[in-house]
């Protein structure tokens, strides 16, 4: 048997068959040229977006095979239609929770900032470059929020949050500026989910009081 062919007998692909390249249930490793860097990146919590064009293209093209292979290895590969892949995990460490919380609040304060400036917030979130000035403005307007996540000045945003975002595939560096990547939609989805919960709580409180 060809060594590059690995048989995974019991895994049914979840997505429609027509997207699959190659025979059902057979993974052709020779097609997955970037398997190793892809695995290493995903394993480190990285979100693969179009900023990593070669990895992204290959993942997009052979998504089913990658998904089968990773499922067999005990990982859950998630593909979001807005253009990013990541490993989903039900469990995380305390440090990672803290990082995620910091990223979340930074993304939310940015959305607020662009909305206040009259931009379409989501469009500006991804299109507008992030530089020192923006970080300073956002920090000055939200000191009480940043204090709670141990960010004590505007340069901390760049050093602590943006660097970590780059490392996790939520942002990319462009010279001295940064740009956010579509993987930030994970945080936008989260706030929408939370908003529904808060609204329900408000309604319940109002009804109870009446």
């Amino acid at each position: 048997m060809n060594q590059d062919l690995l048989e995974i007998p019991n895994i049914e692909p979840q997505i429609e068959q027509e997207q699959t390249k190659g025979p059902r249930g057979i993974i052709d490793l020779s097609l997955m040229k970037s398997l190793m860097p892809t695995y290493q990146k995903l394993m480190s919590g990285f979100h693969i977006t179009e900023a990593n064009i070669s990895l992204w293209q290959e993942l997009d093209q052979y998504y089913i095979q990658y998904q089968q292979l990773f499922t067999g290895l005990g990982y859950t590969l998630i593909k979001d239609a807005r253009g990013y892949f990541y490993f989903s995990s039900p469990d995380t460490t305390v440090t990672m929770t803290k990082t995620s919380r910091r990223i979340a609040l930074f993304v939310y304060t940015l959305l607020e900032h662009w909305a206040d400036r009259g931009y379409d917030p989501i469009g500006a979130l991804f299109d507008q470059p992030l530089n020192k000035d923006v970080c300073r403005l956002v920090y000055d307007k939200n000191t009480t929020v940043f204090d709670q996540i141990d960010i004590n000045n505007a340069s901390d945003i760049q050093n602590e949050i943006l660097k970590r975002m780059v490392r996790l595939g939520f942002a990319k560096e462009q010279g001295k500026e940064h740009r956010l990547l579509p993987s930030c939609y994970r945080y936008i989805d989260a706030v929408m989910e939370l908003s529904d919960t808060l609204n329900q709580e408000d309604q319940t409180t109002d009804e109870d009081a009446e």
Partner: protein, 422 residues
Amino acid sequence: MIPPKRIIQCLHDHWPTIQALIVRSETGSFTFRVLQGLISQHNPALTSDMAFKEAQRIIAAEIAIPLAKSSELELSQPILEFGQCMLDEHSLGLAEEVSVLVDDMDRLINKVQTSSEERDAYEVRRNLHRLDDRIRSVIKHFRFNEVAIANLVEEAKSQKSSIRLEKRYASVLEAFDQYIEPMLDMLDIYGKFRLTTDHIETVLSQIIQASDTTGQMKREQHTCVHLRTRILELYQIGQHCLRRSTDLLMPLRDELRKNTEVTRAVSKLLANVRKRGIDHQVHSVMPIISTDAARHNLGLHRNIVSYLADIIELKDEDVILPDEEQMMPFTALDIPEFKDVMKSVPTQRTSDYFEWLKEQYSELPADELLYLYLQVVESSELELTEPQDQKEYMFEQMKVIAHSLGGSKRQDSTDSNHAPNK
């Protein structure tokens, strides 16, 4: 008069209920039924009779007071102010309030100046205290109004987008026109506020200088220095608070802000984080990011949960003391007196004193024996030979390595400088 302790105890017992009443204080009065309902809601263990009694207790403590000619209740003003201060739930004051206070400050500083010229220390002191009180009130107004504006803005930002823009921003526009603009005029460089603070600063400086020259009113001078610092700070605080409030209001007033479902949700979340802290707000739905290295390490959420679960079940083992009969009676070590040891040291030549001690006091532990050996060889009664090579002495649980020292008892007592090397 109701004892303050009773009021504080009642506040402590029913804080969640009172907090709910403070938050909805703008909606006006409430009925006894609502109060009872809130108590039951926050204390599910209480029966309806008990909730009734607790509601009566709140009224008896005059935390909630009945409205005149009505069966409705309202929170008493001091409790409402205290609660609003605790919860940052201020309502926007009027620019006129600050204006009146500034006028009063002007009046008081004139009085201080007159009293100072008349060398009336008592009057100077009294008016300085009143002036200090007014300055504190102005600072309090600035701070409270800033919080109130932030609350207004947050509310306007997070309201449903289906509400018409004019209606949604009505409170914001009102705040801008009735507070920010008059305040901007007042804080203007040629405005009333600046003129008054400058005047106060000049008068205080004059009093301080006069006190330095004449040596009179030293006690008042100290208060003047404090007050001058506070007045300088006051102008700064006023400007900062106003600038921040304007920054918050401007995007809404100019209808610059884009409102979408996302920004509404974000504003609501950030407002909650600012007021109630981050802990209970964002944790539940945050995207989980995990690395493979971390997944196989300790410190995961589930590790901590299982650890805590183990701690809950952890019980100290019961300490069982042995029966007295089974216990060996405590016996003190029979350590020989040094004098007795020296008496028993043989007068003839001994090749190794340590060996000799070991034989004589075989029941002694090694450390005691070594101590005794040190004392013996340092004794001036012995004449020691040159130290021999290192030798090993075996004990039950240890091995002692020492230079063996021998010698004989000398007839006349002279000091010996020999010491053993261990």
